[in-house]
Assembly symmetry: D2
Homo-oligomer: 266 residues x 4
């Protein structure tokens, strides 16, 4: 069953400003783009560049007035996914170089200070069972509360305040996974189950690949429980929210609106 996406957003600048956009579905990683249409109304010039870890693309814009972005796409999800509980972790010293950045501290996910908490709270679990225990802990201890957090809220703040939105849920999950020795990254995405409909964020953890002995693979996990690997349309990945945003303006701009509609096509 394909997934249909209709998204748009607009912002305005008073003086010439560069902006970085990232809102299109990735054409790999278990998803196929059946159709897609992107309009950038008002942009003078733009350049497409590979996004973080060369997964998806970012668009550089030069703007000097109102910019409206509209995007529609039809996506087929075909990713394999395994029973998280059963997946084993790779020994740290067997991790490939590309996974290491997702084990280290990042802007919103400073994991080192959480080692003791993770070791104690999730004692007896490893690999996928550890990630599953972390997801359960998040479900039991965090409250979904729009407005309770802001753009500078980090995983530590959310761990204390016990509330936040998808971004914060993903940050806590990533942080506790890293504190458990499991590489974890941030995934900006679309998903039909998100309520109210909006850009969404989940996590990806690097665990064993059930298909290939000794190999590792990224597995999607949604801390909020609203999306599942079967209906997540990836936009991009990063070490945390600092790396994947649908709009980053490098100069004063006023944000006007965003609208997201995602549906599973019958």
């Amino acid at each position: 069953m394909p997934i249909t996406i209709d998204a748009s957003f607009a912002f305005e600048v008073d003086s010439p400003t560069d902006a970085l956009l990232q809102f299109e579905a990735v054409a790999s990683d278990g998803q196929t783009i059946l159709a897609s249409k992107t309009h950038l109304n008002g942009a003078e010039t733009f350049n497409r560049v590979p996004a973080h870890d060369a997964i998806g693309e970012r668009i550089w814009l030069h703007a000097n007035r109102r910019i409206e972005v509209t995007y529609s796409a039809e996506i087929e999800i075909s990713r394999e996914f395994a029973n998280l509980e059963k997946l084993s972790a790779l020994a740290l010293h067997q991790l490939p170089g590309e996974a290491v950045q997702y084990l280290l501290e990042s802007r919103y996910c400073a994991a080192e200070k959480f080692h003791d908490f993770a070791d104690r709270e999730f004692a007896g679990t490893m690999g996928g069972a550890r990630v599953s225990a972390i997801r359960d802990w998040i479900e039991q201890h965090l409250t979904y509360a729009p407005g309770a957090s802001g753009p500078y809220t980090d995983a530590g703040d959310t761990f204390i305040a016990r509330q936040g939105v998808c971004r914060d849920y993903a940050h806590v999950l990533i942080t506790l996974a890293r504190a458990s020795g499991i590489p974890a990254r941030y995934v900006a995405c679309y998903s039909p189950g998100v309520s109210p409909p909006d850009f969404h964020a989940v996590a990806e953890v690097f665990l064993a690949d059930p298909e290939h002995e000794e190999g590792g693979k990224w597995h999607l996990v949604d801390g909020t429980g609203m999306a599942s690997p079967r209906d997540i349309v990836k936009i991009g990945v990063g070490r945390d929210a600092a790396d994947v945003s649908f709009l980053t303006s490098f100069g004063p701009s006023s944000f006007e609106y965003s609208s997201v509609r995602v549906e599973e096509t019958a």
Copy 2:
């Protein structure tokens, strides 16, 4: 004139622990390894993996007792370098995808809040002249003070406290460059002018490549003034110090010593 490096360090673990090491000179980026020797005494198993941005290598170790690392190398530096003052910046919307991560916020270099300061303090400068003005500001406003900062000190802390070591100098330089719209990254290195001799850290900024019209290139800058592009031996790069450390232990370990000797060979 080749540069000779003799470095060693040791640490001990009580129970089996994985550790990530990064201390060898990079075999590219304007430096040639004439000779080198690495010993890892006490390690059971180890794996080499590409380091951040595939520049240099990290070594994964599995240790269950005392580990002593010794490294000696002879390196020839042949990098071109330009007059920083004269280099122009690339327009943001012309930056290649690979440079973008170095423009965004990272663990120790959260640049967004510094926009106003950078705009005002360095008004009238752009590109290389801006970076040069930042370096001058650092020289005038920071005091080199071993012990004044710690492993969790970030650029904001150093900007307030006005003191720190090479790591902190690099973080402030990187942060103010990013706040000026210039991609900047952290470079762990060896250099003969560092006093007292130790692992060193500098910054690299992405500015125009004087050799290729419309292209960009990384240029070395040392906030402390102790090293120059001519005598910097790169070990690795990262978004900040969170990404490049000569030793990261993923479990309890006791650090014993480190010793670094770097000389320009006559």
Copy 3:
């Protein structure tokens, strides 16, 4: 010339909640209350208690629905004030016990890390001349920007971001005074020159009393320059904004509005 104040604000609670209010002019410290009227509409019970350092009063409320507070007053200011530039500081070891809390670190004014900056930036000045130099620095380096800061912004954040509102200006002034060995506190107040009209905040520094040899005294200073000691009507004092707020709700509440009008009566 008396000052006339008309202030009101309202908030609503769904379930029984206690709240702490502080909005009435202090009846001492160089100001005389010629007339005043306070209405607390909707409060079930309330208790008046002395506020911080026994300057002014706080009102404890028990609320279980919409509360609307209206306050009007006519105040005569008669405080003596000296030429700030000429005031000397007391030696630290001569400070009275009551002043010490205003020298120590507080929630939003952690001064220790600013010692080096203060020593260097304001070298050669002491006492009132130091405070005056701090006020000038603030005038030159901060931009008044409603919306740029929030309830958890501290002096360090503002020092970095270089923008904020009266609360943030007061925090930076207090912090730099403390870092200079001068006790400083936060003063919530009304003043006719505040634009747009609102609750205001300034600082008070403890320096020599020109009238009494060897004695000390609190002197008002407004970092924003909008108010002067002659037209500041004190509501209360504290170590920083954590201690003086017109409304602190100890439970969920929705804030409805606040309105402040302050005029010098002809």
Copy 4:
């Protein structure tokens, strides 16, 4: 059974420096000073001033060389103490003015963000039973780990890292009590059960006074479990550790040593 205290510490300054000391037992609050002797070797001048909330005294020193402080005392403890579990809390709107500062946020105990955690983790408990539940939670979740925290560690950091020393235990207890609507303060003290012997820190919470209907009273609680109200000799109180330190130097100084011996006299 009286308690005997022998404490000493020394520090050195190169240039004339003022310092604030607080190390003597309070002569009230349920403790009687049977005998005491204070020596300040090396101090040029000193002044005694009342300490925070006029409980105990601080000593202002002017020093220009090595200072050695020795203090010995014999103290009788006679404080009444109640069964914590049975004490009720006062309604917030019945709290006296003096208790309010201990309900508000302070440097190391920013309690607001902990409301949700406290409400959920300790649901169903109030007053003394809530404080007792907080103390039990601390006992189960924190590890006493000298060296794991530093002078700038706050309650949030400790809540995340799950380790610390007496200072950190007290900060977490105070923070969770405030987040529960119970005024709480920091108490620097001596106690014979502290191991290894050192200056100690506990908390005090403001709850009902079992002797006086409708009145409130401060009750001692030790998060570490090493001391009990029967053998705590108070030195002073404050909103947190920022307010009570045996030595605060207002200028460069080098700390030499401290030694504390506390015994219950047979």
